[in-house]
């Protein structure tokens, strides 16, 4: 199925214009980042508002290696995953002792604090940040193979691989242990699950995936700087995860597309209404936040899960009405 998806994406990328290809790359990056949140929050039950910071860790790790040692790009991405995973393991060790709002607050403090560290060390380039250049697409792909298309290919491939990994993880014994711990920690412990270790593991893996997303985001922007990883990024990832249905990996593309599409939609709406500039620039933020609240209130488990539940209910009703006839 994932291979099929890859083939479809390959043909699509040949047909649309540059802007759409770039947006496609951004969507792929969001897919990765959101799946890391779904793994952590939806399955393991831990809330992180600091995934933007973990993405920054991955991005800086990749950029520093690229600049200082000129490593091949694939190695940079691997290191980005490892660096963020180490950061996630440290954070997860603290997080396993916390729950709910405490964890949210702690990771929030991290998200605000960490990017400022970039100004402390010269190697990280301060406010301006670092250049992150993955290089031109290989010549073998032809003359008219553009840079953005190359970004899209890398990001889409990474997205497919990470979705495959996450999917398998979630349906493995680890995934079951996470869900058990989320549902009832004491019962999970009675069943022989080391919930503390399982939580740290979830945090580590989630952070690693976020690190990959960070490095890919840096690739599409071309630079790594503190301003590329604001608090708002962490928030919009959470929004994307909630919109996707936080307990269903299958909906992840919904959240990613919505996050990329909202600024465009808001732009169109604002122009139709002929509103002032301050409205235009802030409409996307308002829509994202408003959607977040409405989703939590009215479709708390996300559209995919809601649809599935409705179908199940419908089927049950159908079955019972059949029974009545007999």
């Amino acid at each position: 199925m994932f291979i099929l998806g890859g083939v479809v994406l390959y043909f699509l990328s040949g047909m649309v214009d540059e802007l759409r290809v770039y947006q496609g790359a951004t969507i792929a990056v969001y897919v990765i980042a959101i799946s890391s949140i779904i793994l952590l929050t939806g399955y393991s039950g831990q809330v992180s508002l600091g995934h933007g910071a973990l993405m920054a860790v991955g991005a800086y790790a990749a950029a520093v290696l690229r600049i200082e040692f000129n490593l091949p790009i694939i190695l940079c991405f691997v290191v980005a995953v490892l660096a963020a995973a180490i950061g996630g393991a440290l954070l997860g060790a603290a997080a396993a002792r916390l729950s709910g709002p405490y964890l949210a607050g702690t990771t929030l403090a991290l998200a605000i604090g960490l990017p400022s560290l970039a100004n402390q060390f010269a190697v990280l380039g301060g406010e301006q940040g670092l250049l992150f250049d993955v290089g031109f697409p290989p010549l073998a792909l032809g003359e008219d193979f553009t840079q953005y298309k190359w970004f899209f290919w890398i990001a889409a491939l990474a997205a497919l691989i990470s979705m495959w990994v996450v999917r398998n993880l979630l349906s493995s014994a680890y995934g079951r242990a996470w869900r058990a711990g989320r549902g009832n920690e004491v019962a999970a412990q009675l069943a022989g699950i080391n919930t503390a270790r399982s939580k740290v593991l979830a945090f580590t893996i989630s952070a690693g995936i976020a690190g990959l997303a960070g490095a890919l985001l840096a690739m599409t922007i071309g630079t790594v700087s503190p301003s590329a990883f604001p608090l708002a990024l962490s928030f919009s990832l959470l929004t994307g995860a909630v919109l996707s249905g936080i307990t269903t990996l299958g909906g992840v593309i919904i959240g990613a597309v919505v996050l990329v599409a909202i600024p465009e939609i808001a732009d169109v709406v604002a122009h139709r209404l002929g509103s002032s500039e301050s409205v235009t620039t802030n409409l996307p933020g308002l829509i994202v936040s408003g959607l977040l609240i409405l989703t939590v209130l009215f479709v708390p488990n996300g559209p995919v899960e809601q649809h599935r539940a409705r179908k199940a209910k419908h089927a049950a009703q159908h079955a019972s009405s059949k029974k009545d006839k007999h």
């Binding site: 603290a94 916390l98 960490l114 936040s289």
Partner: protein, 301 residues
Amino acid sequence: MQLLNTLLIGITAGSIYALMAIAFVLVWRSTRVVNFAQAGMALLSTYFGYEAVSRIGSFWVALPVAMIGGALFAALVELILMRLLVKHASSGPIAGVAPIIATLGLLGVIRSVISMIWGGQDLRIVAPISNNGFTINGSTLVFSPLKLLVLVVVAVLLILLTILFQKTNLGLALRASAHAPEIARLSGVRVDSVRTLGWALAGAAGAVAGLFQTVNGNGNFSPDSIEFSLLLVSGFIAAVIGGLDSLLGAVLGGLFLGITISFVLMYVSSGLFFIAPFIILLIVLFIRPQGIIGVKAGRRA
């Protein structure tokens, strides 16, 4: 002299954090929700205060206007958002994270609406009295009349709040609904209204914190100002240090945090401004996870 200065700066900043922490504690006690929109509400109240200053011209009018505006808005949020949340999202896998997500969404909505109404640029509230330090024996302290004012106002508010909680029937109802809502309801306390009141008090406390954070800084504020993100984090951390359930704990937590940050910035490195709160929080959570005052079970929310 430097030691004294550092201490006084810390106490002033800490008393503002304490107010914010009190707002967190009041909301937590009334609805068991950590309100991540608290800083957004404080920011909105600061804009209310700004409107009052620019129309009437007096900071002393702006302060109560901001407090009343903040209280009304917070009460409205509790009435609409929180009650819907309890109704729709209090079960299922998302129940534990729904309040966090909803209040974050609210934070985003508040920020966007503020930027739409007032624009994204810096606005300015001028401090009512001088922020130039007192001079003692020819040397100038960092401690100023303004900082003294902040301390006095915060102290007065704390005393009023203590009287409310300890000496009045309303305070008794507030405490009863926090500790045992079911029993309070059986005893004839209108728990729902008391919850709304808890939010309103928090809104007012946050409004004062927002105004003072602004005038105690350089007087500028904007929807994106980092001051308010810092206020959010510092207030939360102060509340956690204090155990999240205790008003006294919130005050002690705020002062402790303010003084510690002030010393770290002075004697370790001023570049740690943003990361210091995080490190302090981690240390506190590892050493004393139940807070300064607080029961051990309270940490498992």
